[in-house]
Assembly symmetry: C2
Homo-oligomer: 209 residues x 2
C-alpha cells in the first residue's frame, strides 16, 4: 500500500508521481523534517499544485501530537462528509456531524453555519482527537473559540478551509493560538489537501510503530 494505491498499476502511478513531486518541490521544502516533507509531498501529489509546497505551514509539535493521537486510536472529526469519505485507512473512528439533527437545530437557533454548529455539537459530547477542517472557515473559527474558552480539548488541527471569504483570516487566527496545526496560507486549501494531510499522518503512524 503506497499513497492509497491498492493495485500494482495504482502503486506504479503513485511512485512515479512521488518522484515528479520531489523533483518539483524538493528545494522549497528543504527546511522541513522528514515527516513534514512527506505530508507536503502528498498534498502536492493529491492536488498537482506545487504552490502548496510554499503555502503549507506546520507548527512545531504538530506531527508528534497528531501521530500520538492516531496511535492511541482517538477519533478524527471532519467539518464535511467529503473529507470523511477520503479518510479510508484509519482503524479508529472518523466523525462528521454536519447532518446531525442536533447540529441543524443548533445552526438555526444560533444563526451560525451548520459546519460551525457541527463543531459545537462535537464539543458538547466531549470530542478529543484531531480536528480536520477542509472546507468551512466558520468551523475553524468555532474550534479556536471553543478551545480558547476551555470548552474543547483537542490534539491538533488540520486547518485548510478554502475560499475568498474568511478562509485566509481563519488560518491566520489559528497560527496565533497554542494549538498544534497545519494550515495553507491564503484562500487556497480544501478537501483534497485535508485528506492528503490526514492520510499521510495515518501512514506515518504505521511506519513509526
Amino acid at each position: 500500500m503506497f499513497m492509497g494505491a491498492s493495485t500494482k498499476q495504482g502503486q506504479d502511478i503513485a511512485l512515479k508521481s512521488r518522484e515528479i513531486v520531489r523533483s518539483l518541490i524538493s528545494d522549497k521544502i528543504d527546511h522541513l523534517s522528514t515527516e513534514e516533507k512527506s505530508i507536503v509531498e502528498r498534498i502536492v501529489h493529491s492536488t498537482a499544485d506545487v504552490e502548496y509546497a510554499e503555502l503549507c505551514h506546520i507548527s512545531s509539535g504538530f506531527v508528534e501530537c497528531s501521530i500520538e493521537s492516531i496511535k492511541s486510536g482517538k477519533d478524527i472529526l471532519t467539518d464535511i462528509n467529503m473529507v470523511r469519505a477520503g479518510i479510508n485507512k484509519y482503524s479508529g473512528e472518523v466523525k462528521c456531524f454536519i447532518n446531525h439533527p442536533e447540529t441543524i437545530k443548533m445552526a438555526k437557533k444560533e444563526g451560525i453555519t451548520r459546519a460551525a454548529a457541527a463543531i459545537g455539537y462535537a464539543a458538547e459530547y466531549g470530542f478529543k482527537g484531531i480536528v480536520v477542517i477542509g472546507n468551512a472557515p466558520t468551523a475553524l473559527y468555532k474550534v479556536i473559540e471553543l478551545v480558547e474558552e476551555g470548552i474543547m480539548d483537542i490534539e491538533s488541527v488540520v486547518g485548510v478551509p478554502v475560499g475568498f471569504v474568511g478562509a485566509a483570516e481563519s488560518k491566520d487566527a489559528l497560527e496565533d493560538t497554542q494549538i498544534p496545526y497545519i494550515i495553507t496560507k491564503g484562500p487556497k486549501g480544501g478537501t483534497p489537501v485535508a485528506v492528503a494531510a490526514v492520510n499521510s499522518l495515518i501512514q506515518l503512524s504505521k511506519d513509526n510503530l
Copy 2:
C-alpha cells in the same frame, strides 16, 4: 439554497464569495454562455483558485446533455467516494463502485486500477447518465475506451482527474472524442472541481425547469 449553503450565514458567505469570484475572473470567461459561466464561477468559488477560469474547457452541447440527463433522473457515476459524498442535492442516484467486490475482483484479474475496474463494472450493469471523474486518469481512459468500443453509452463526462502521471493526457484524449465534456487542462483538477461542476449542473437544471 445558494451554492450549497443552507443557513443565512452560509448564504451570505456564498453570495459575497460569488461577487469576489466575478470580479476576479469575469474578463476571462466572457466568451462563455450564462450556464457555462455559472459552472466555472462555482469551480473557482470552491477551489479559491482563479487559474481554473482558464483551465476549464467545456464542449458545445455539454451543458444541454448534462441538464437533460439530470432532469430525466438518470444515475450519476463517480470514480471515488469523495466525489459522491460531495454531490448531495440530487434527487436521482449517485453511484460509485470502487469498493464493490466485483470491482476488486476485476482489478486484480485484469491488472488495472480499482477506479478503472469500477467503470468497467458500471458498463457491465448498463449504466447510463453522467460520468464524473474527479481523481483517476485510468478511470477516464476506461470511459473513453468503453464508449468508443460501443460497450458504454453515456450522456456526458465531467473529466477532471488530477495528478502528474497521465491526468493531462487523459483529458486531452477526452477532448478528441465525441463525448460531451468539461475538463481542466493540465495536471490540475480533483474532487472539489468535479463536485462543483456537478452541483452547479443540478442547480441549473432546477432553475431551468
